[in-house]
Symmetry: C2
Subunit: 357 residues, 2 copies
Amino acid sequence: METLGVALGNRSYPIHIGRGLLERPELYRPYLGGGSAAIVTNEVVAPLYLRRVREALKGARVTEIVVGDGEQTKRWEVLESVFDALLAARCGRDTLLVALGGGVVGDLAGFAAAVYQRGIPFLQVPTTLLAQVDSSVGGKTAINHARGKNMIGAFHQPLAVISDVATLETLPDRELRAGLAEVVKHALALDLPFVEWLEANMPKLLRRDHESLVRGIKRCCELKARIVAADEREAGVRALLNFGHTFGHAIEAGAGYGAWLHGEAIAAGMVMAAQLSKNLGLIGDSEVSRVSGLLGRAGLPTRGPALAPERLMELMAGDKKAARGKLRFVVLEALGRAALRGVDDERVRQAIVAAAQ
Amino acid sequence: METLGVALGNRSYPIHIGRGLLERPELYRPYLGGGSAAIVTNEVVAPLYLRRVREALKGARVTEIVVGDGEQTKRWEVLESVFDALLAARCGRDTLLVALGGGVVGDLAGFAAAVYQRGIPFLQVPTTLLAQVDSSVGGKTAINHARGKNMIGAFHQPLAVISDVATLETLPDRELRAGLAEVVKHALALDLPFVEWLEANMPKLLRRDHESLVRGIKRCCELKARIVAADEREAGVRALLNFGHTFGHAIEAGAGYGAWLHGEAIAAGMVMAAQLSKNLGLIGDSEVSRVSGLLGRAGLPTRGPALAPERLMELMAGDKKAARGKLRFVVLEALGRAALRGVDDERVRQAIVAAAQ
């Protein structure tokens, strides 16, 4: 088992990465002081892993809450059903909430933990690659709003992250690839040697080589932990982790939530962001090709859906990264070095058009 | 104008108390860096004060959001309408939200600010006595759930509190009295000389003597600021400010939200809590009489609604102050000195019965 830390003062926490961690009681025990726990998971993950986690929590009073699968689960009505189940089971402020599942479950359950009785403790137990490398770390929680993704949420740090790579064995190929998009994102934004490692090792990751997965997940968590420690609430440098996300969120919304997986939209969004970086004179054609080449080798889309550039522009204007009317984008100054820039609309439109060709 | 501070490190903030503060642009200007503001108020307060606040915000882009009046406004559907209005107006993360109104508006708008785009800055501009002495200070925000009051919420501190006592001139008598319940609560829980001052000055407060109101509000804010600075998230001493609230919440829920004002329910709840303290041997009959006498002179109910004690017990069992099955209550060790105790159900039942006689 590999363990690293997120340094946030008295809210610091460990990330454990390894095989078979899900069922190890000693990883949960330090957080069960209240004697009560609630596992939030979904209908796909529950038959696979719920029993093991419940057994690892033995000794505690455990409430099980199973929600639906997919991005459309991140909405108020589902959150309300989680509150209802917690209240029906008389879960108090000392109940430990365990988020068992992918990014959707982690975001939803994490937000439930953030606002239930003004905040209860929680653990992230991510079971998808996307959640293990990204969404389970750093305390971002949210649900979607009809007018935009992740519009309602909170920063609420978990007490620990327990990443069991054995759970990736049951992950559908499409979701594995979507997770790889976030792995690539960390590398492109922050770490050139990691880009090079990914270029060399993508086939191993795709065939779920255990050692390569642990190494890739650990590197992402290290990079993200450093950023989160420096800027927990995204006032500055943390925004760099949104590389590809302004375009990506617009793609997700434009295609209809759920049609594209988050990682797929981010992949196409990263190509657009790379193209934008090139149009701004920051990188050259060869870097743009390396970005789309790496994503292509991960089996990810490198072009957006068939949507008019104007529609994407319109969707991005409502994105929360818009500040004072001018859209801000994470661009690449080099592979492995992202930066935040305000960009004129026309440049953005050109990048969307160029990325589609 | 009197100004005092809530000491919370880099989230410290001032509380301004005085006459005519609502319309003073210089009190808002320091917080308008983003150039965008949204005023959340209700249909009763809007015709009285919205224009003045809007004018004080001149120079900023201002969105106005008017919700319904009353406790039933503190629910998800209304919150959702606030998010909708913020998103439709393209309010970003740098929008300053201004909560203009009583406790309901402050709780609802404060919670909206806590979770809109994972948190935006906000100001409390309380226009009721209850909000000025209690709910606007300390960062507690929430909405209600069908199964309990304030069950969904967050700790989110305002950037400042602007308490204009001139707004109390339009406050209905019943609401003024409900606010006095929270004034009495601060005194009974924390400050014997303040109890004595209230016993001497209640008539002046009831006839809205300006100087007495400022003095009473300031003392409550001082007491509360000290407690909040020591225990922002209610892990310990802050719970003392819930004197009368465990009973009070059950009364509110049992009578149907809105039938009793919060302050009225708290008043009857404080008599029950005083009776409980007597049953535990902490205080004597004379102290219980002083509690009910002071509340009676404020024109507040000193008995709960016609509900079976068992029904109140049942409602309290779902209250968030229940920990590990045993109900915890704020009791009085003396007038002006509250303490937290775990209490057996039978004692609680006896106190409810005794307080009804």
